[in-house]
Amino acid sequence: MSMVKVPLVTRMSMQFNKRTNSNPICMVKSSEVKLIGKWSSSYTIRVKIALNMKSLEYENIEETLKHKSDLLLHSNPVYARIPVLIHRDRPISESLVIVEYIDETWPTPPSILPSHPYDRALARFWATYIDDKWFPSMKCIFAFEAEEERKPYFEVLEEVLERMEDAFGKCSKGEPFFGGDTIGFIDIAFGSFLGWLSAVEQKFERKLLIEAKFPALVKWAERFAVDPAVKGLIPEADKLVELSKSIKWRAAIEKK
């Protein structure tokens, strides 16, 4: 397996900048773990939540929308997209792969994946389901101008919410989260999209996560947002709505 190494010059200049710019009394963040991502990306948020759950320090490298950095292109040559975790100079891509990597590399509690094989399979199933359905539909909603064109994608989002409401009952087993008494894989996979869900509701003036229809999910969403590992990570709806104006949604639909 070929390993993509971060070029030495890039690594050293990043560390050097951190030292000279920071207050000499402050501790320099651990450079063993780096995350290339974007504040607005639900996929990036997933990784940040996982890192927070494990109380891991990391260097956050913010990518801009317009121009992909050399570091990103080098670290993820297959897809050239965020998030990418770089741990001891070795990059890992694809958010759910990264989250599992974090759970396995730092196995101290809380666990992100359940311990029982069947529950693990269910967790992976629902996370994959979210990946297949949620953001692809959201991209289409933003991309299409006509109400009629958007309609089927709103229907997909509704269906996802119905299924997740049902899944919550089965997975949580009376506890506050899909993962039980602490947040887990499904909470992270789904909860990371709460910001964009609010953005869609705001922009299209249409409430989706309605308490009457999805009572368990509404309460879960409130608990999730204030969880210590999540707090501050879910972007505000207005910021995402503003950002959505400059995203090329049609081009985004083409990419898997």
Partner: protein
């Protein structure tokens, strides 16, 4: 209590083949149930209400869906024999990444090749070959993606070989001439009983695709 393992499957499905290989690697006895996809059984609809698709593994009455998730489940449960994933988290992550890449690229591009024409088909062929070449690069000098034995990526990928005759005929190209290392790897996999006994004859798959094309009206 003996384990009860049932596989709901459809013989030409590369996704079903993945599970057959994994079960064979682990030496697990199971009941194979062939589904008629035009007349899905109540058991299938009950076991996979979300997607209503095969393959589904039912272990002691509990269903598990999505082929790569099933393979990981098999690995988790029968962890004491023939590991399918590396033990090191970084290499496990790489295995998951590449198996996911196979899912994103090989099936969809292959499908485009046998269902489309003209420019769309040419573009799909080009991308397909590029994907196989990238996978060849990942394989490098190893016997299998899994190293000395077939692993997660081998299992994810090798079933698509049974569809190559169909891709080549309808796409009018030769995969071995473009990607000889890939075909050499396939041949090594086929020497393993767990693989050869789990895969159907590519000629039969080709005939099946001919039928499907007629049915969906592709000339």
């Amino acid at each position: 209590m003996a384990d009860e393992v049932v596989l709901l499957d459809f013989w030409p499905s590369p996704f079903g083949m993945r599970i057959r290989i994994a079960l064979a690697e682990k030496g697990i006895k199971y009941e194979y149930k062939e589904e008629d996809l035009r007349n899905k059984s109540p058991l299938l609809l009950q076991s996979n209400p979300v997607h209503k698709k095969i393959p589904v593994l039912i272990h002691n009455g509990k269903p598990i869906c999505e082929s790569l998730i099933v393979v990981q489940y098999i690995e988790d449960v029968w962890s004491n024999r023939n590991p399918l994933l590396p033990s090191d988290p970084y290499h496990r992550a790489q295995a998951r990444f590449w198996a996911d890449y196979v899912d994103k690229k090989v099936y969809d591009l292959g499908r485009k090749i046998w269902t489309s024409k003209g420019e769309e088909q040419e573009a799909a062929k080009k991308e397909f070959v590029e994907a196989l070449k990238l996978l060849e690069e990942q394989l490098g000098d190893k016997t299998y993606f899994g190293g000395d034995n077939v692993g997660f990526v081998d299992i994810a990928l090798v079933p698509f070989y049974t569809w190559f005759k169909a891709y080549e005929t309808f796409g009018n190209f030769n995969i071995e001439s473009e990607c000889p290392k890939f075909i050499a790897w396939v041949k090594r996999c086929l020497q393993k009983e767990s693989v050869s006994k789990s895969l159907p004859d590519p000629h039969k798959v080709y005939e099946f695709v001919v039928e499907i094309r007629k049915r969906i009206g592709i000339e």
